[in-house]
Subunit: 306 residues, 2 copies
């Protein structure tokens, strides 16, 4: 039941040698999901030894190039490597056409299903409902239609204590009932309290991804209480008006959102190339408002649950 | 009058960590020209400290993704960096539409002229005629329409000897006539032979780029006598039939073309990812046929004239 976030690109529209454009892998219970796919993402997947053929779900937040220019190359490589497994791309309207046109240009006929799912405007939307988790999209506020994504575990179940299993040897039917919360009653009619015969589950964790967006309290309801929030912090507070004009956030604003949404941890990223030498000022600015803030780095992996 | 070739990507359709997809910068008399633009080219331009805003001419050999997927990102970056200088892209038909559509998706309005020139099929074509050089395109043989490019200096002119200038102080008119090959006659009617008062020019050099193509003797006429020939060598001779089926060449075939075209030096590249650990077998195979062969490496710079 592992849940981790692997940053592949922490830069913004102008990639630098140190920071690539946006891309992250969310490892959700053994399923790697790609969030955004800036130019060079396939190379960074290789560099970070992430098995790209295992990716089946891909999320594109919006259609600025630093979030999708790497998609066509990644798909092309998966195809050349002999992929047959379907791929699902959750993306704004319009992306499918331009991706398919590029394959048409090169007379490339994909040997796997490439399914595009168009993101819905103006509402929180359940994209994936799996046994152990949900994935949602929700609107953020940028210069063109843009979405955030929420990856959220469903409440985890209790685990039977080894000592109980060894002494009572419950059958499969009973195991299921105990996991679902029932007490155990043996053939002699003795009752064993569920809390006595099980280990409580760890808390369900969640990850919210918000890039790109200006400071928008409208997103708080979607990300409330998240274990980890990734929020863009393109600028420092002294460039607040520039941030607003360009529909981006400052590090201080990202921290205010984290605080108001009562998330557990904040990771800032999508740093403007002007901070290419050092982003310490952005990190400190955020930490002043919301102490548990970390800064995204290309290659950084944050484990939410092991 | 510098002329050099800077390899940015020496890999083929499947980029590896060591070899990026096709891209080269031809430095022609102070003008950097980009030939092919696979994904990640803008990053490699940065890594190789090539000033990307100085590029005004760009050549795309064909529309397989490993030769053009980096173009949209590069243009986007030039735009974001405030470019106003026009750009000329010589490319197959169809590329312009798909590039412009991607900018439309992101509501990006370029602030510089982006001019596409469609390459002509079935003939050698003069693309650029500058004071000191020509650039031509010519057809090669691949699975989709594909072009090679020839960068060719015009014959260089003599240089006046310093001693002659100091002793005779010829005026601008005379200097021009001497450079054009005339003897000098002073006011007293004395004649000075052009060969005595000038240094002979260095030989004009030329660079031919052929990627991707199967073994095709039809290209020999276009590249005859080139100072440096870049020829793809995707496979080794033992995979000759695979090379032919995929419209690619072996290293041995590249060397045969070099030999038959009597070029001075051959650089092989576009190596299949199957040789990612070592391309020595390809280099040796080519050198057996054409000794003066070198292998392309990402970051390698070959100087044709200083």
């Amino acid at each position: 039941m592992k849940f981790s976030v692997h940053v592949l690109g922490s830069g913004s529209a102008l990639p630098t040698v140190k920071r690539g454009p946006s891309a992250q892998v969310v490892n959700l219970h053994g399923k790697p999901m790609l969030v955004d796919c800036g130019e060079g993402t396939q190379l960074r997947l290789r560099q970070n030894k992430i098995k790209m053929q295992q990716i089946t779900h891909l999320f594109i937040s919006h259609l600025h190039g630093d979030h999708f220019f790497g998609l066509v190359g990644l798909i092309s490589t998966l195809h050349l490597l002999g992929r047959t497994k379907p791929m699902y791309v959750y993306a704004p309207e319009g992306l499918e056409k331009v991706i398919r046109e590029q394959f048409k240009l090169s007379s490339t006929y994909l040997q796997f299903e490439l399914n595009f799912v168009v993101l819905k405007k103006n509402q929180m939307d359940l994209l994936i409902d799996e046994e152990n988790y949900h994935v949602y999209s929700f609107p953020v506020e940028h210069s063109i239609p843009t979405w955030g994504f929420l990856f959220k575990e469903k409440p985890l179940r209790v685990k039977l204590k080894k000592s109980f299993i060894e002494s009572h040897r419950p059958d499969v039917g009973w195991i299921k009932r105990i996991i679902d919360g029932e007490d155990y009653v043996n053939e002699a009619g003795e009752r064993f309290l569920n809390t006595d015969i099980t280990h409580p589950p760890r808390e369900a964790v969640s990850y919210a991804y918000c890039s790109d967006t200006r400071y928008a309290e409208s997103i708080i309801e979607y990300i409330k209480g998240a274990t980890l929030l990734y929020h863009e912090a393109s600028f420092a507070n002294d460039l607040r008006s520039q941030a607003k004009a360009r529909f981006h956030s400052t590090a201080g604003q990202a921290a205010m959102i984290a605080q108001k949404a009562a998330v557990k941890q904040l990771m800032i990223g999508h740093f403007s190339a002007r901070y290419k030498k050092d982003i310490t000022c952005l990190l400190l600015e955020a930490q002043t408002v919301f102490e548990n803030t970390i800064a995204a780095e290309d290659g950084k992996c944050v484990v939410l649950a092991d």
